[in-house]
Amino acid sequence: MEAQLKVRDLQVGFDVFKGHVDVVKLDELSIGRGESYGLVGESGAGKTVLALTLLGLLPQPPAVIHASEMRLGGVDLINMSPKELRAIRGRHIAMIFQDPMSALDPVYSVRAQMSEVICRRAGVDRAEAFERILKYMHLVELPDPETIVHKYPHQLSGGQRQRLIIALALSCGADFLIADEPTRNLDVTVQASILKTMYRLRQELEVSMLFIANSLALVSAMCDRVGILMRGRLVETGTARDIVEEPMHPYTLDLLHAVPRKGEALVDNGVGLTDVDASRSACCHYRRCRSRGPACENTEALAMLPVSETHAVACPKAAAASPAVLAEAALGLASAPAATGYRVVQHQSRRGDT
């Protein structure tokens, strides 16, 4: 599948008075046409910074952005002027924010906000725009569009507002959507409804989507492929099934097992934090990791190693324990780190065991 979004060697840092802080460091990220890619990470992992970088919305001081490649639909984003970026934003790439209230201007009615976008982008007059507005509102399953169109954002419920944002994003004709934790502030039943709408829209309109979430449950429902982001670095990538059924990175395992499930005891995987010098390893998980060992101190060992055709992991232990990597090592094909000198601890997996 030809990649719609292709990013390579992206580094985003900020110059603060304490010095320079690296927030995002991605070796590679590519999302195909019509594909849905889920990015999972906790807060502070850099998910929103990444989203804003792709949209070109990050002001360059204080941010410092380096990338060897950043293309959307074949178009190079790196060297674009702000004017060109503005033309692309909305037309080809649009964002759905976490908090619908802050993305909607409270003093304009629904009709006014949507008209503004549609008239400017599609160059149509207000009457035609009105038709389109209703069409898009039907598309996102907003109940009773004819009434809602005259209302103001504060008169709508959270779910309705979020649908409106999706309608706004689609009305420009964008074929790449970035959804930044779109259901975070919604109730659970409303969330289910919105997720179903988004899923259906993605399939019908064949838009690609970067879905940012803080839980694996959401991405396994919505996404084909998943990447786990920790402190700005991807530590594991694969299809949703790969990640959920064969999680390899200790951080992924922690995320999976952190959410209690009915009838299951919670595993306490906390390791003593105080007696470890975190600077010994470039891996951000080192301090909390159960399977840390001497191999973690080798920076090269922290590169992404493929475990299967779709699945890759940035952890020397995990990759080494995988049969595929071991086979390659045996054949002398890959430089897998030697499987000696440490103990690999496998967390109890729900399905099967290793």
Partner: protein
Amino acid sequence: MAETLIEIGDAKIYFPVRSGPLHRRSGWVRAVDGVSLVVETGDSVGLVGESGSGKTTLVNGITMLQPLTSGSIRYRGRDLSRLRRRERHQLRRSCQIVFQDPFWSLDPRWLVRDIVGEPLKVHQHLRGQAYQNAVAKALEVVGLGADDMFKYPHEFAGGLRQRIAIARALSIEPELVVLDEPTSAIDVLSQHQILLMLQSLKERLGLTIILASHDLSVVSYLANKIAVMYGGRLLEYGATDQVFSEPLHPYTRALFSSVPSPEIYGVESLASLPGEVASALNPPSGCRFHPRCSQGMATCSHKDPPKLPADGSHFAYCWLLN
């Protein structure tokens, strides 16, 4: 020997809505609309509901932050609305609350020592070394160190701040701890740590817990009884295992199946409900859930559903159970 700790009898909390230039009362927001519930010592009761369900308002009623409009809440038999100020103050010693927001629930200008020690000062009038020792002990219980006393809240991350809030609640050794969405503002990995800690504290200290949360996984882990709330009313109540394995109320069933889980790929199996959550200002007549219920009958819209089975430990308010 389990005794009744809290008895909620048809509690109603309504807020007046005022409009117009003369601020006339034009209606009522029925935040809690007739809830009856019993909590026994040693229980951990989870109040589950979405926004507008009334669980936070009910929790405020139990902790005497919000007076009732009608009905009663009794603590060990004593009606909270009839207590005098001194008695209420004494009662606060046995019942403490942990709030949702770990940032704003701690005074940013106070040292952690004084935050955690506030109840000690107010109720036990401790000073000096005894005060500091008690604070150190409370901090230890939640896994923080004695030297953390001399820091400010902003020096800690969210999960640790929540621990400080829990330490404050536990410092005077209450018998009832109420938690209002304790994990919804913190990250998944910190949530995990907090849940483990709460579970162990519950067992070690023999606490009775009332936990309000919209997060079913949290409730399923910590609570042994679940109360499902919607539109200010109680829809279903029972032991956690029973309610999860055999939900009686259609809303409960929809709620449980609308939560995504990692092993579930795709969205087809997610249940979704039509319409919006019931408005507390103009609630539907009869069963609050009937406009969204796929199995609604005619009676559901006229008459309030009865409690069925009438005397059982697991019951729901639904005409379908008739």
